[in-house]
């Protein structure tokens, strides 16, 4: 499974702020040319040729424009709702919120694998993370969640990193340390169709003061940029291995891939609703 396009789900088309009234924005999603238009009445429309794969125009939630990517066999109009927690965070009003768009040189599946690949934190991101401690994960019907206790530089502070995947494309990260203890970051990935990903990072801060929020925001932005700089050289030449050789020091990579496969095209869309709500859990010392 190497192709992002095999997964159903809502993918972002940027923010409403990125398209002035009456203008449009051209994007590529799954190799399909998409034109998102900002109408004079404040609504948005999406124009694209392949109406089977990208269905029902666009939806705007909390200032973010989304398109639904369906499987060819899906019944028109049978798309799943946008994840409730994603909607809640996008529509929330934190004391400070910022967004940033960039192109990642890898696929959505490789970059989301990366978030649960805890063993690379102290090697690739050794400038920030000195070691990792306990790792726990939970695969529920509506989310995959992994929590890692990290030791971060420069003082070896304990930092709890929590990553929650809502579907194949959208996720939430919390890094509970220092200034960013009450901050959250949504990572919205949208496959362009050429093996790269349009990423939209939205960061919110529920702090007491604007100054605290802005400092936390700066810390998170700089941290995310540095992490990107460290990951990009690996991603540019990485090969996706469907059957990797793992060790007992690796995170729950295969468990995450198994959970994500519920969004794969090969599974009937109605099965997503009917699927068992059993929860799988795991822990690493």
């Amino acid at each position: 499974m190497t192709d992002d396009a095999q997964f159903r789900g809502w993918v972002h088309c940027g923010t409403v702020d990125s398209i002035p009234h009456g203008a449009d924005r051209r994007l590529s999603r799954f190799g399909i040319d998409v034109r998102v238009t900002s109408n004079d009445d404040g609504t948005f429309a999406g124009l694209f040729e392949d109406g089977r794969r990208l269905t029902k125009g666009v939806r705007v939630v909390g200032g973010v424009i989304f398109l639904y990517h369906a499987a060819p066999a899906d019944t028109p109009g049978a798309e799943q709702p946008i994840h409730g927690e994603l909607v809640k965070l996008l529509e929330s009003h934190p004391i400070h919120r910022s967004s940033e768009e960039y192109v990642s040189p890898t696929s959505v599946i490789s970059s989301s694998d990366n978030a649960v690949d805890v063993a690379h934190f102290p090697t690739v991101h050794r400038s920030a993370i000195s070691s990792i401690g306990a790792v726990s994960w939970k695969a529920a019907d509506d989310r995959f969640e992994i929590t890692t206790d990290n030791r971060v530089r420069p003082f070896g502070m304990k930092a709890v990193f929590r990553y929650t995947s809502f579907d194949a494309y959208n996720s939430l990260a919390n890094n509970e340390v220092g200034l960013t203890r009450t901050s959250w970051q949504l990572g919205l990935g949208a496959p362009r169709g050429d093996g790269t990903t349009d990423v939209l990072l939205i960061t919110g801060h529920n702090t007491r003061t604007q100054l605290h929020a802005r400092c936390a925001d700066l810390t998170m932005r700089l941290g995310a940029r540095r992490a990107r700089r460290e990951d990009n050289p690996i991603w540019k030449r990485q090969t996706y291995l469907p059957q990797p050789q793992l060790s007992d020091a690796d995170g729950p990579i295969l468990q995450f891939r198994k959970w994500r496969s519920r969004f794969a095209e090969t599974i009937d869309a109605t099965d997503l609703v009917a699927r068992s709500t059993d929860t799988e859990k795991g822990q690493y010392a």
Binding site: A119, H120, I234, R237, Q238, T239, L241, P244, Q245, S247
Partner: protein, 332 residues
């Protein structure tokens, strides 16, 4: 199958299998020794794949497939730790056999994680990799480099040597066969040759030796050209004329992609008149690249014909093809 045309001539048969499905066994140059420094990793492209070459702390050179079997990182971005190559992603270390030797924080080593290793030999400043056939088996041992090649590479005393590299968009079969095609020298390389006599050839062990007497344009100088192919990738050309002074040109040809060859040309000369002999090397190597440049427009558009219609003015093309066939092997 061949068909007969109305003129009674046999219609040439266009090659049926695509050329990229055929590889040839043999030693292929991958780098100059000086390009693979101690404790460094270098990536080269051979047969459509990335191959990483590393010189370990002991000075030994090793080569592996570039993809880490753990999570697919490119080992060319990694480094050398002692006698191991280290993946840049999770710092897994692989020893000189490609076996996993260290995994940070792991209680047990995942023994199934192993790198595919290539056989290397290093001689005379050149690193060679052996290309096996698909059915060679994991324990296959490559033969030594041909004796004449070993001898030429080892003999450096009193000689001056220079290397030149070029990338040419064609296949190994086209380039090799070109040397036996005596009839093309005047039409295509008329800037160099005034005339060329019919070629002779003979087999020497696994190698083929092609000889011809020619007159080059420069002062109408009579020149005896001897070209010996040891395998599809390695040949030595010697020219005997009043200016050649024991010089020879070793052409080490390595397929990077289906239709992309990397030439490493080594010119070697007696070093009696240093400046003159160095200049001769330069002229020799540059001349070879220019000769290939003249061939390029033809190679770009020509179709390989399995059974060409030949005349008595052609060189030993079919004999050369028969010789080349002994190296053919299915792609691993």
């Amino acid at each position: 199958m061949n068909e007969s045309s109305s003129t009674g001539l046999e219609v040439p048969e266009i090659a049926s299998p695509p050329e990229h499905s055929v590889v040839h066994r043999g030693w292929v140059q991958v780098a100059l020794s000086k390009e693979v420094r101690r404790n460094k990793v270098r990536t080269v492209r051979r047969f459509g794949n990335d191959i990483v070459i590393a010189r370990l702390e002991s000075g030994r050179v090793v080569a592996f497939d570039s993809t880490c079997p753990h999570l697919g990182a490119h080992l060319g971005d990694g480094d050398v730790v002692g006698e191991c190559i280290r993946c840049p992603f999770h710092h897994w270390q692989f020893d000189d056999k490609g076996d996993v030797a260290h995994v940070p924080n792991a209680k047990r080593l995942p023994r199934r994680a192993k790198l595919n290793q290539y056989h290397l030999t290093e001689l005379g400043g050149v690193i060679f990799m052996y290309q096996f056939a698909a059915d060679a088996g994991a324990d296959a041992v490559p033969p030594p480099l041909p004796e004449k090649v070993r001898s030429a590479l080892s003999n450096t005393s009193g000689r001056v040597r220079s290397f030149r590299r070029a990338t040419i968009p064609t296949t190994i079969a086209e380039v090799a066969e070109n040397a036996a095609d005596s009839a093309h020298f005047l039409p295509v390389h008329g800037k160099v040759f005034r005339n060329i006599e019919p070629m002779t050839h003979r087999l020497e062990g696994e190698s083929i030796l092609i000889e011809a007497n020619a007159n080059v344009k420069f002062r109408n100088m009579p020149t005896k050209v001897q070209l010996q192919f040891f395998d599809p990738y390695t040949s030595i050309t010697t020219t005997q004329n009043p200016m050649s002074r024991g010089s020879y040109l070793m052409a080490l040809v390595a397929p990077r992609e289906d239709r992309e060859l990397e030439f490493l040309l080594m010119s070697d000369n007696e070093n009696k008149i240093p400046l003159f002999d160095r200049m001769m090397n330069l002229v020799f190597a540059r001349g070879s690249v220019q000769a290939a440049d003249a061939d390029l427009p033809i190679w770009a558009n020509k179709v390989r014909i399995d059974r060409p219609v030949l005349s008595d003015a052609d060189g030993p093309i079919m004999q050369f093809r028969k010789w080349l066939k002994q190296f053919e092997a299915t792609a691993p």
